[in-house]
Each structure stands twice: as structure tokens, then as C-alpha cells.
Symmetry: D2
Subunit: 313 residues, 4 copies
Amino acid sequence: MFTERVRDLAHVGSVELFTPTPEESRAFFVDLLGMSESGRQGDSVYLHAWDDYERFTVKLTASSTSGIGRTYVRAASPQALERRAAQIGTGSWVEDELGIGRIYLCTDPDGHEVGLYWETERFTPSPGKGPALKNQADRFPGRGANVRRLDHVNYLSVDTPACGRFLTESLRARPTEQIVLDSGDVSAIWYTVSDKSYDLVYTNDWTGTHGRLHHVAFATDTREDILRAADVMLENGIHIETGPHKHAIQQTFFLYVWEPGGNRIELCNAGARLVLAPDWELISWTQAERAKGQAWGLKTIETFHTHGTPPVS
Amino acid sequence: MFTERVRDLAHVGSVELFTPTPEESRAFFVDLLGMSESGRQGDSVYLHAWDDYERFTVKLTASSTSGIGRTYVRAASPQALERRAAQIGTGSWVEDELGIGRIYLCTDPDGHEVGLYWETERFTPSPGKGPALKNQADRFPGRGANVRRLDHVNYLSVDTPACGRFLTESLRARPTEQIVLDSGDVSAIWYTVSDKSYDLVYTNDWTGTHGRLHHVAFATDTREDILRAADVMLENGIHIETGPHKHAIQQTFFLYVWEPGGNRIELCNAGARLVLAPDWELISWTQAERAKGQAWGLKTIETFHTHGTPPVS
Amino acid sequence: MFTERVRDLAHVGSVELFTPTPEESRAFFVDLLGMSESGRQGDSVYLHAWDDYERFTVKLTASSTSGIGRTYVRAASPQALERRAAQIGTGSWVEDELGIGRIYLCTDPDGHEVGLYWETERFTPSPGKGPALKNQADRFPGRGANVRRLDHVNYLSVDTPACGRFLTESLRARPTEQIVLDSGDVSAIWYTVSDKSYDLVYTNDWTGTHGRLHHVAFATDTREDILRAADVMLENGIHIETGPHKHAIQQTFFLYVWEPGGNRIELCNAGARLVLAPDWELISWTQAERAKGQAWGLKTIETFHTHGTPPVS
Amino acid sequence: MFTERVRDLAHVGSVELFTPTPEESRAFFVDLLGMSESGRQGDSVYLHAWDDYERFTVKLTASSTSGIGRTYVRAASPQALERRAAQIGTGSWVEDELGIGRIYLCTDPDGHEVGLYWETERFTPSPGKGPALKNQADRFPGRGANVRRLDHVNYLSVDTPACGRFLTESLRARPTEQIVLDSGDVSAIWYTVSDKSYDLVYTNDWTGTHGRLHHVAFATDTREDILRAADVMLENGIHIETGPHKHAIQQTFFLYVWEPGGNRIELCNAGARLVLAPDWELISWTQAERAKGQAWGLKTIETFHTHGTPPVS
């Protein structure tokens, strides 16, 4: 019998990124991705993608190095938040973030901080600068990549199966695709908490370091936005790591760049692809299939396997 | 306090359309929309969009006139199906459809048949004709509009508020946008059962006739697919009613055509727009706002208000 | 026997536009079309589209009203310039423009000024701001409509056949398409001096006023650029007159807006369409064909027939 | 003083390709590129791209191996054809091709046959199958890559400078971009006979074999057509060699595949890029610049340097 799974999490809300080059990183998100600044606090600047209904999409924090801070995930209801907190048990309640109410703060087995919350401040456009259509959060920027919203977070992890159990048991996420090595080890898994085909991803960290980031991805409306973004990155001296191309796994059209602080950023477009089947069967890719490269034959670039943030020597 | 709402329905699965010109209609769906035939039974031919994981997307039934038959909506679990059946109460269980198990068959207050189900047959590609990538249902057609999947159904209804109550109470759908006339009457409402911004829509039927269809929509991956489809429709003598353009309401990029049997078909693309907020606040458009036309200023065409199927005199 | 026609003109180089709102018009061209400022002189500001190899694309001149000043057309060689001047005879040599050498200044029968020239100053990017690839004129802006270059100029004229003779005889342009009314009168003709399907167009001015402008058009690389531009125009309160849609005549994908000064501006994309046949046969559209509207059925909007600049009462 | 250059050639008209797998190659051009068959004669089948005004775009000839036969280039006038023939001198007049009148047949220094002609048969659509708009040659196919027309031919040559002199002196083509090795040798040159930025290209043949082909390219209207084509190629088992990506040289958006007979085929889109300057200055790329790969960083694939047709051991 199919095990019913109540959806307790609505979606990934926002993410904190550390950067050793805060001004350059801010310029990247604002001028090249098309975000706008929606707040400042301490060493952090808050950045907002134009159709995010919440106060911020990225919290950019000046730091000695790069990497990922908290990932905020919104609960589906206040009741769901309580249920998740009760089940996880090992976290703690805090209320210390701009635009967010009570947060149940916990960590995955690899040490990445995850903050679950319900109360959230709606994004309010600057007076006289609101969108022409009232069913979008902010004015369309017409600048750079024009990213609409956060799409997913891809963590590096030393123990991917343990992290996966955290996601399925503690966050009730569903795995949709994975890579299974010839050894039988799972080297990467893609999870969804929504109808998108993935929201959170774990990839093996070959260095054995904990708490690192592979990449954070932002969604554009079209593939053309991504092709245009590639020109914008080229003109502005941003390192284009690989793409534009189409992933075989999950079929996302992608472009990977490194923002000035060193964090890998993906621009992605899924077309009309959603995982609507509640009983979607986990798809496994073999080592041989993975070795074929991306959908249209692009070989996976070496740094895609070696670069993570913060860097390790 | 926010009222928690368990999601009992996963997504709209498929729809039956009646046509007085079965051969021409079939050719439209196969040659111009890019579907393939996945079954035949009695007076019906079953058509499949390339990334639908179920057996069929459209059931096309030869009839004396046009219009809509059953809409099949998949439950989120077997338990959810039982819950819905128990709450609705007035329906009946049948098991009479190709590729679908037990169906709880009910009608909305306007008389449109809705079949809720859990058991479903997975689509199986013809031997040797499967997709290159195993995470999609069938081979990409490279033909006409290349529609990926069913997107939404827009019914006509004599009593839109009553139909809306059926959706929210019986199907636990959520309204996301609506048109409120100066009289205070709601003339159209858009509902979602998923993370898409709408799945089922009711629009007032000015003729006072029950059970009619405004349109059925299919999603393409890109807006370019829709521009290309416009050329394809033009070359093949299909009536283009309006578009391509972008809706103000829901912001969907659209093209409306009449298939040879007379039913209005929409090709649509939402970009990366989703309604991820569990507490999304219903957006109301006034009569004056509606009168402005579509997003980029296109005036709503007269037949959009008068044409429905089956036609009435 | 086919009459050989030496190509004496290379392409339309730039155009002067008058505006009663110089600051707002400049902001439109820079912020919304993606041009950059490349000079100032007197009441004029010079604007440059990113892949124009010459000093400027548009000369925007503050004035009491809107309208078009000179159209500059580059000769195919110094010898060709002399040939054209000798044949036309009625013009005069001047040397009074930024970035342009000797100009043979003449007027078409309707009074529009045309300046033929050979010597031209190459566009030089600001130091440190040049493009990443040396085969383009300037850095890709990643802003608004990102227009690449001037595409064509569409004049209004009281005597379209006379203007046409000027183009074919004096400028050696070739007509590619035209509208022939039931009366036998030609109401619009499209001419090319290049391999593009048109560069200069005349449309009847129903008001009987001389020297007016229907529109100036700029080319984008993709149709998606134009769809994005529609959003940008909407957000910035620019009047969208009609489109995006595809013309039946010449098949150009278009968007028409009115810049703040009142001049009609078209954003256009021709795809890979060129007129490569040296013996292309002029295509005539009847009044009935024209009445069908645009390629996908959009009706031609009333102001398209009535609005020109400067406005007349 | 600028040397005036009369344009004697209008455009590349069509090309003959040899294939050892005629049925599979034909299916590739018809089903996957979207061409239609427009004639048969002997061992050849003639294929037509939908907006080619002439009888055929590709002549596909069954043969023991792959490679290129004649390239047909249309003169700008009958007089221009005579002028070219008189200057070249070493060719001969033949009249042996379907849909083409007298041909002046010559060879470049590497042995590739070039046929210059003026008289040509206009393409006539099948009765009842013509396009909806009379300003295009044939009905838009809505199939596969939907290539609009031939774009360019890229030959391999043992002596690229000698071939270049043939093009500039005999065909009056203009070089627009080139690669200059550290040794001072030119390893590739791009030539135009039109306003397109290139029509004919020579690349060094490292094997020292004469008369070979690097690739033939067809233009699509959009980059999206090329992305879609990549899916189509993937689904149909066609070898995707590299792309989609954007060239640094000439900036063309490209996809390279090998048709079943082995010939490399490019799908390309130039956006709105044209070389309109009659005094365009030849752009030279150094070996170091070339080593950087394509515009967005894609490394040039090894087979791109080694594969040509017919193959050599």
C-alpha cells in the first residue's frame, strides 16, 4: 500500500551565502542576475529576485571565505512547522532573521544549517516602483539574467545517504533522481518538497570536508534568458564554468558561473517539466550513463567535481 | 490562525473531448500539437502528450457535437481518494476507463463530470521508440507545437460561486486569482490543486447553458514553441482566435485556436512562475482592470466571451 | 534581358529624431532599448546601438515637436557616392555632422532629408569598457531590449509612387513588397538597398502633410528579446501600440511603442529571412489581403493608420 | 583610396553532398532538418529548405563514400556571370543540372567544384500545399529543425591562402575573419559574397588531402530552433559532435551533427548580425585566442580538427 505523506514543507525560501568580496558579489547579484537590494543588517545585504513573494531571496554576508550559511525552508502551515520541529527534536527555536518570525534551526548530518519557519514578511516594492501587474512581487528588472526566483540548493556532503535520510524523514522530501556508482554507493541525490522536480540536492564531497556548497540555482523564465546571461557574464569577466547546455539528469537547461566571491551559481530553466506524480519512481543513473556527459553530449567539466565553497586545499 | 489544508489531489490527469469531426480532430492533436495515439476503444481515440507519465492525456470521442466529457483528476494517495469520496458523498464508484482503476465519479454544480482516481497505468512507449533519456515519458516528437503535458481546464458555468465552493470544499482546491465585476459578482475564478498557479478555472456562461467548455490548455516548454505553433496553425488552416500574447491575469503566454471539432484549445507557457506560497492571497481584478485587455495591451476578442462548446444558438 | 544594377548604397546608417521631451526620450533609448550615449553637440545627443560599427545610430535632437530629421545612408564606395550625387543633381555637399565626412544632402519628393556619405568615424568603446569579443562594436548591454542595430525607416508620404521613383532611380533601391488598393493606388512600398528584405518604406500620409515619420525600427537578435521588451515597456509606462506579433507583409516579428517624445518605434526581428535573389519579384498585397490583419490574425490597430510624427490636427 | 568592388555574385545557391547511405541521409534532411523532396534524377534526390526560392537546396547523391560535390553560386546578373567566366578563364560551360541553366564550372585550387549560374527555376510548391503567406517559398514544415535556407559551406583545403586568392580574385568575395597561427600561417578564413558575415570558408586540411568538406550549414530563424534540434538529434540517434554553443569567431550560435552518411552538418543562427560595412576590416584571431575555445568557454572538440569528408585513413 502506498504510504501517504503529508506535505509539511512548502518550498525553499532563501539562502545565506558567504563572500570574501561583498561589494563585487553584491554587484553580481544586482547588475548581472537582476536582483534588487531589499535590506541591510550587520555584515549582510539582502537581495530580492523580482517574483519572490518574501522579503529576500539571498542573504549575502561578508566573511573571510565563501560558502553557504543557513538555508531557509518555509513550512506548509504553522501546524506543519510544529510537527517538523517535534519530529526532528535536536534543533532549537530562534527568532533572529530579517523578515522571518520564529525559526526552527537544525542541521543536516553534514553540518549545513536549515531553518524552518512559517511567519514571513511579504516583499513590498519601493513606493512608485511597483510592478504594472499586481500578481507579481516586484517590477520586472530588464537587466542581466532577470532571474525570477530561487530554484534549488545543491550541497556537498561526506555522507550522502545519511543526508538523504534526514531529508526524507525530517523534511519529508521525496527523492526523484540519483546517481548510483558501480560500487553501489549513491554519489548524488535530487529531492523535492514541492511539485518541482527538485529543490534540494546532495552530491558527494570527495575532500571529506563538511558543510560545503556545490551550487545555488536561480530560475529564469526562458532558455533565452540563460543564453543572454552567458553574454552578460562574458562581457563582465565572470568565470563561466560550463554551459549553456541541458542536463541529462533532471533535464534542466543550465549555465554555471562562479560569482566573484567564489560560490558556484547556476542559472536554470526547467521548461514545463514538473513532477506531478505523487508516486514518482526514483530514477537511478549508472556510472556509465553518467560518464556520457550531459543531454546533448557535453562532457562534465573537471572543476564540476572538484570545486566547492569554501575551498579546501 | 491559518487553516491547514491537506492536499488530497495531485493534479488534473486527463480530459475527454467530444468532436463531430473525429478524424480531423485527431490529426490536429497528433500532427499539429505533437501528441501520439496511445489507444482506441469504441468511438474514442486516446492521445498522449510526450511527457505525460499516464496512459493518455486526451480522450477524443466522436460525437454529434463538441464539448467536454469527464475531467480526470488524480488523488494524492489512495487514502486521499477515499477521503474525497467520503466527503463528496453524492458520487458513485465506477471502473470503466482505459488505463485507470476505480473512479469516484461526481459532477460539479454546473454538470461537468469529474472523475477522481488513484490507480493509473504508466505510459509505455512503443518498443524501440522510447526516449533517449529515461526521465521522460516518451520520445520528444519534434512536430508542431510539441506540447509537453495537459495544463488546465477552463469550464463555463452558470453559477460560478457555487462551482467554486465545490472546488474548494470537495476538491480542496485553492483560488489564486478572480475577476470581480462592478456588481460584485465574480465572473471568473482560477483554482489550483498543485504548485502551478492554476489547474481548473470557471468562467460565467452568459448563455445560461450548463456543462459547457471554455477551453482546454496544454503546456509547451517555451514561448518560442508557441510562436512556432502559430505558424503551424496558419499553414494548416486552423482558426487562430487570439494571440500569441501574454495574459494579465496569471501572466500566461498564450495562443488560442479552435480545433477542427470546434473546441477552443490553448497553448500556454508560464515560464518559471509557480504559486509556492501556501498562504497566497487571492488576487481580485476589477471590471475596469479587465477592460484594459491583456498584459501588453491586446484587447480581448469578442468570441472569447461568446464561443463555448457545445455551441448554443 | 535582366537590367544590371550596380549597388551604390551600402546600408542605412543612422537617423535623426526630434523630440519635445529630450530627457525622457534619451532615457527611453538608453535604459529601455539598451543604447549608450556616444556624443553630444548643441541640442543633440548621439545614441549608439551595441553592434553599430559607426559613431552613432540615432541623433536625438530637442525640438518643439516630434518627427524625423535627416536619414543618413552610407554609400558602397567613394566612387558610388560621386555617382549618386551626379545623378541626383539637385542636392548639395555639406560637412556638418559628428562622425561623418562630406555629405551629399538631398530630399525625397515628400521633403524628407537624406544624407549620402562615405567617410565615417568608427565607433570606439570607452576605455576599459570594450566588448569581450573583438568582432562586435561595443559591449553587449544586457539591458532592456538590447537592440543590436538600426533596421529600417518607414516614412509617411503624400505621393508614394513619386517617392518610390526617387528611391529606385536616385538611390537604386529595389522594391520587394507593396500594398495595391482596389483603386490601383499603391499605399505602401518596402524597398531594400541591401540583402535585408527592406531598409526604407513609404506609407501614404492620409493627412496630406509632408515630411512625416511613420516609424523607425531597430533589430533585436531574437523574438524573445522583443517579448522581454514588451514587459520592460509595460513596467516603464511606455505606450505599447500593438504587438508583439508577426507581420504578414515581410513577416517581421514586431512590437510598436511610442517613445516619450511621441515617435513610433518598432522593435523587429526577421529571423534568418533575407532577400538574396537579385531578381526578386515585387510582391503585391491586395486591399482584401491587407484587411485580414497580421500573419496570425491580429487586426491592424486604428492608430497605426492615423498616428505619425510630428502630429497634425 | 578605397578600391571599388562590383558585386558579381549574389549568394551561394545549393550544394551537392555524397552519401554512402542515401536513404538514411534523405530521412535526416527531410524528417530531422525539415526539408522536402523537390526532385529525383539518376542517383540523386533533391531537397528543398522551406524558404529557398530556387528549385533545390541540397542535391544528395548516392556514392561509395561521403563528401561534397559541386557548390552552386548564383551570379548577381547575366552580365556578372559573363564577367566572372571571362576572368576565371580556366572553367567550362555546361548545362547539366536540374533547375539550373548554363553553368560556368570551375574548381578552386584545392579541387572543389564551383558552378556559377544565372538562370534558375523558381521553387513551386505542390498543388494545394503552398504557404499561407505568398512571400515565402514553401509551407513552414513544423518538423525537426525547420531550417529556412542554406547558410554557408566550409571547405577543407591544403593551401588556404591560394584558395583565398581564388575567392577574392575570381569570385570577388571579401574576407571578414581569419585565424593566424603563431607561425604566421592562416589556418582558416571566412569569406562573404553578400551582407551575411560569411558564405564560404576555408580551413586547413591537416591530412594534406584535396577536395574535402569540413561542413555545410543551414540557417534556422531562432536559437530555440537549434536547442529543439538538439533534442531531435538525441532522440533519433544522430551523432551530436558539439554544441549548442556560440562561436567566438563570427559569433554564430551553432550545433554540429554528423548526418548518417558522415558529412558534418551545422545548424546555425546569426541573430541580426550582418556585415553591412563595405570597408569591413578583416579581423584576425591569434592562436592563443583560438585556444580559449568558443564564446562562452566551450573547448573545441578534437574531432572538429580531425573529421572531414570523405574520411581519410
